[in-house]
């Protein structure tokens, strides 16, 4: 099941239809596959290559540039704690240490129950609010050790399910572009005005 399932394949085709050059859909499709499996599988990359008419090496080359794409199974919650200078000055590193202790894993590791993956990361652009962390890329600011414990408790108990979807889901509201508004794949050589542009004119 690590290729896109039927429902997602349909979504993939809609995503592809948004771009004049189908290759442009590479990254959205990578997100879609990560949403399905929690990480980007080998088979998904091969399938995406077929869909966007490139090679698996090109898809992997593109995907591996981005930290947010994972190529190994990862916890349901990816906890990133900032260790850059501003956060460091207000206890970022202590927070990392505390997290290691609470979760029983080192940065890069995943808890045995598959719930949490811990990462110590660079600046997350919230330097005035340190120490900062993210759970599945949702920010938490001025995080005390008690805040952290509470957060983990809440996540375990499912109290934050509404706010924080499992790793891989970027947004619960899926963008949907009606067929008549999609650009449609056109060869760059074809002098066709994309549908949306035509409508705008």
């Amino acid at each position: 099941m690590s290729r896109l399932n039927a429902a997602n394949l349909e979504i993939a085709r809609e995503i592809m239809s948004r771009y004049p050059v189908v290759r442009s859909a590479t990254i959205p499709l990578l997100h879609l596959s990560q949403e399905q499996n929690g990480y980007v599988t080998r088979e998904a990359m091969q399938q995406i290559a077929e869909l966007v008419e490139s090679t698996a090496a090109e898809v992997y080359g593109t995907a591996s540039f981005y930290e947010m794409f994972k190529f190994e199974p990862i916890g349901k919650y990816c906890v990133n704690i900032c260790r850059s200078i501003s956060c460091h000055l207000v206890g970022g590193d202590d927070l990392v240490e505390h997290a290691e202790h609470v979760l029983g894993i080192k940065p890069g590791g995943t808890t045995a129950d598959g719930l949490f993956t811990l990462e110590a990361v660079e600046c997350m652009a919230a330097c005035t609010e340190g120490p900062t962390l993210q759970v599945n890329y949702r920010h938490r600011f001025r995080v005390t050790h008690q805040d952290f414990d509470q957060l983990i408790d809440d996540l375990r108990a499912g109290r934050l399910d509404a706010e924080i979807p499992p790793h891989g889901t970027l947004a619960r509201e899926r963008q949907h572009i009606p067929a008549d508004k999609a650009a449609g794949n056109v060869s760059p050589d074809t002098p066709i005005t994309p549908a949306w542009m035509e409508a705008a004119q």
Partner: protein, 796 residues
């Protein structure tokens, strides 16, 4: 008005060249061309700017920053990447200012920061741009004392290429080559920042037919080729320029050897043919020359085996066999087959021996795998003309498999939008995805496919633009080429000014045909000669580097001929399965062991050069033919290879200007093309419609097969993909088998069980099989004697 007359007398000032751009390079005025990159303009002016990523045959990317210069376009000198910036009027370029020098030192210090500096154990050491430029432009010392980046030392990225990521400077040459030139983007930069590396998709190798080129253009020792690793140091190598004869494209190469052993081929950049590229079969096929299995000298049959004999005895014996055949059945009882493996001189000497000395008309160079030689009499296109034509019409085998570097050139033409490709094929080829139109039709329908296409206004309009080149070759080994030829003639009828580039495959096949390896009056093709041998009217076969047993698309006819009691003289470099059946085996010199000339598909005559001594006592073919002629009572008058080249110039009109002297100064060789004559007429024949059960059979070649040179090159021997059968996925369903299952194929000649795969690139009701692959032959299923071939497919 009064001075009109005197003005008219003034010589007109030459119109200023609109493309000229005046620049100053290191204080010296230079006329560059509009759009030219600063790095190129400087090179023309004699200033070599150091570089790593820039390569003349690929788009610039500005990756390495080694080529920084100062350029002043009127606002003061500014540091500029000379491989990315075009010349501008009055630009002042400085390639050696103190600023430039400091920057070059800085760039090199950074490039070397992570470099392992393992030159003493690196294959590139001694010919490494990084080493050379660090020496000439580097700071001499590094301030970097931290731990360097570490990776697992070389990892194989394909069967032929190793990658040492620690040495890589991320110049993007190999990756650009793979996607931009070869169209096989199977290597890519992965990860980011300090972790950026070149790599493949995990466990999916860089299986490109052109992978060896990345090794040649890597500016450091990051990419190394398995056949050459740790074999020699550049300063031990001795080299000479030559031409690849693995196929008929005729790529220019340098042959490098050490201690009388060929160690490496490198591509030579010439504008006319290969632009510096080689395919891997051409690049690594030299291993066969060094093979321990090479014939070391002549031998004659004794019982089931062979006895080595001296040349005199062997030649006497060969002459006796020929005389006996002539005495028993007249001159035409001798058949001389082949000649494409050797040089022009070899082919010419054999042709003279056959026609003038023996007097047989039964002389033939093709092995039922090529269109009739008359296509060489059509107006011939050069490779450059084909690769810049408005329209390229493909009615040929898969060029990626058979003429790889021609594939690169035509792919480039389509990718750079110079040409539109219209392809007619029975199975999608390597060029299909670059074709403007790729029209798939079943064998038997090719003429109709062309006719229909030409009625489409869009295609008709495209053809009507003129400047059409037809690439013409036999696409199906299971049938005669008659219908393919008719289809080609149909295109030519619609495009009267069109030129033809013959897609002949064997090394010097064009030279062999143009120099007389053709039937004389009443003479026959190879298939008929073999049938006559089986019937007993041909009594002696002279086989010039041809392996009929594995390489002729009709095993039954071959077997009947070889077991008919015909006497066989095999002139070969190996004891091939066919040579094993010979009465006399004459050991021939191989590529790299002899001088001479060869003629490629466009008619370009280029030199091949001897780099090492022959294996054992082998001799070049022309010498063998000359000595055999002497024993048959005639002196061909050839005393040296040059004397043969001169004799060709004196007697073959197309080669009149091609003398050893003229060749010396011709950088891109010289064209030898016969005056066109419209000797081919459409046959007008039509294939029987297939019955409702059978599939049309296509058999074609892949680059790697059981060909003896391939198999005798250890690095290439394992690359053949193996026997299998392809059919359209819907046909798979019809037969009721799954992809990967086995089916039985039955033809008029026999039956076989093979693995089947779905292939959407095939027309419905068509099956495809590769020729001469490990895992079972196909030539015992086909006869290459009908307009089409049909096969029944059943489950097992």
């Amino acid at each position: 008005m009064t001075d009109t007359a005197s003005t008219a007398e003034q010589p007109e000032a030459p119109a200023p060249d609109p493309n000229a751009v005046q620049v100053t390079i290191n204080g010296v005025a230079h006329t560059a061309r509009k759009g030219q990159l600063v790095i190129e303009a400087a090179a023309e002016a004699g200033e070599y700017i150091p570089r790593f990523c820039y390569h003349e045959r690929m788009a610039p990317v500005g990756k390495c920053r080694m080529c920084l210069v100062e350029a002043d376009s009127g606002r003061g000198p500014a540091v500029t990447v000379s491989c990315m910036v075009q010349v501008a009027p009055d630009m002042k370029i400085n390639t050696e200012s103190p600023t430039v020098k400091r920057m070059q030192e800085g760039v090199l210090e950074l490039l070397l920061a992570n470099h392992p500096l393992d030159c003493p154990v690196c294959d590139k050491g001694g010919e490494c741009p990084l080493q050379d430029q660090a020496f000439s432009h580097g700071p001499g010392e590094s301030r970097f004392v931290e731990e360097k980046r570490h990776y697992e030392k070389p990892i194989p990225i394909s069967e032929l290429v190793f990658l040492d990521r620690e040495r890589c400077i991320l110049c993007d040459r190999c990756t650009r080559f793979a996607s931009e030139v070869a169209g096989d983007p199977l290597i890519h930069f992965t990860s980011r920042g300090n972790n950026t590396q070149v790599n493949t998709f995990p466990d999916e190798p860089f299986a490109s037919y052109f992978s060896g080129n990345t090794v040649q253009i890597c500016p450091v020792g990051a990419l190394t080729a398995k056949p050459y690793r740790f074999k020699a140091r550049p300063w031990d190598l001795d080299q000479t320029e030559s031409t690849c004869t693995s196929c008929a494209v005729g790529c220019r190469t340098v042959v490098q050897s050490s201690r009388d052993e060929v160690l490496r081929y490198q591509g030579v950049d010439n504008d006319a043919v290969n632009w510096g590229w080689l395919c891997d079969k051409g690049r690594f096929g030299f291993e066969a020359t060094n093979s321990e299995s090479r014939l070391q000298g002549p031998a004659i049959r004794s019982g089931d085996g062979f006895t080595s004999v001296g040349w005199n005895d062997a030649l006497d014996q060969a002459a006796t066999l020929i005389k006996a055949a002539v005495a028993a059945g007249g001159a035409s009882a001798v058949g001389v087959i082949g000649g494409a493996r050797g040089t022009n001189e070899d082919a010419y000497a054999w042709a003279r021996l056959a026609h003038d000395v023996i007097g047989t008309p039964n002389v033939y160079a093709h092995l039922a795998d090529a269109l009739r030689s008359e296509i060489l009499e059509m107006p011939r296109a050069t490779i450059n003309e084909a690769a810049s034509a408005t329209t390229i019409v493909l009615l040929a085998p898969d060029l990626k498999e058979e003429l790889p570097v021609l594939y690169l050139r035509l792919r480039d033409a389509a990718e750079k939008k110079r040409s539109r490709i219209i392809e007619f094929t029975a199975r999608k080829s390597g060029l299909s995805k670059y074709a403007w139109k790729s029209i798939v039709s079943r064998p038997g329908d090719e003429v109709e496919a062309v006719r229909q296409a030409l009625t489409e206004p869009e295609i008709a309009a495209q053809i009507a633009k003129g400047d059409v080149v037809v690439v013409a070759g036999k696409a199906n080994l299971a049938a005669l080429g008659t219908l393919q030829t008719d289809a080609i003639l149909k295109v030519l009828e619609a495009a009267p000014g069109a030129k033809v580039l013959p897609a002949y495959r064997r090394g010097n096949i064009v030279g062999a045909v143009q120099l007389g390896m053709n039937p004389g009056p009443g003479g026959n093709s190879t298939a008929k000669i073999l049938a006559d041998a089986a019937a007993g009217t041909v009594k002696c076969l002279v086989l010039l580097g041809v392996d009929l047993v594995s390489d002729f698309p009709d095993a039954q006819t071959v077997e009947r001929a070889l077991s008919s009691g015909v006497s066989i003289i095999a002139v070969d470099t190996f004891l091939s399965p066919t040579a094993q059946r010979a009465n006399v085996v004459l050991a021939a010199a191989a590529a790299g062991e002899k001088n001479g000339t060869v003629t490629n598909i466009e008619g370009r005559v280029q030199t091949v050069a001897q780099k090492i001594n022959v294996a054992g006592t082998s001799r070049p073919d022309w010498m063998i033919a000359t000595e055999l002629a002497a024993r048959l009572g005639k002196d061909l008058g050839f005393t040296s290879v040059d004397s043969v080249t001169e004799a060709i110039a004196a007697s073959v009109p197309a080669y009149a200007d091609i003398t050893p002297t003229a060749l010396k100064s011709a950088r891109d060789g010289l064209l030898a093309v016969p005056t066109p004559s419209a000797s081919l007429q459409p046959s007008g024949q039509q294939a029987e419609p297939a019955n409702g059960y059978d599939y049309r059979l296509i058999v074609s070649r892949e680059l790697y097969d059981l060909g003896i040179n391939n198999q005798m090159s250890p690095s290439l021997a394992g690359l053949a993909r193996g026997l299998r059968l392809h059919m359209h996925p819907s046909d798979l369903e019809r037969v009721g088998v799954a992809d990967g299952a086995s089916v039985r194929i039955t033809t008029e000649r026999g039956a076989k069980v093979v693995t089947v795969h779905g292939d959407a690139g095939l027309a419905r009701w068509t099956v495809w099989m590769p020729f001469n692959q490990p895992g079972g032959s196909v030539n015992d299923l086909i006869s290459a004697s009908g307009l089409v071939a049909d096969a029944r497919i059943e489950t097992v």
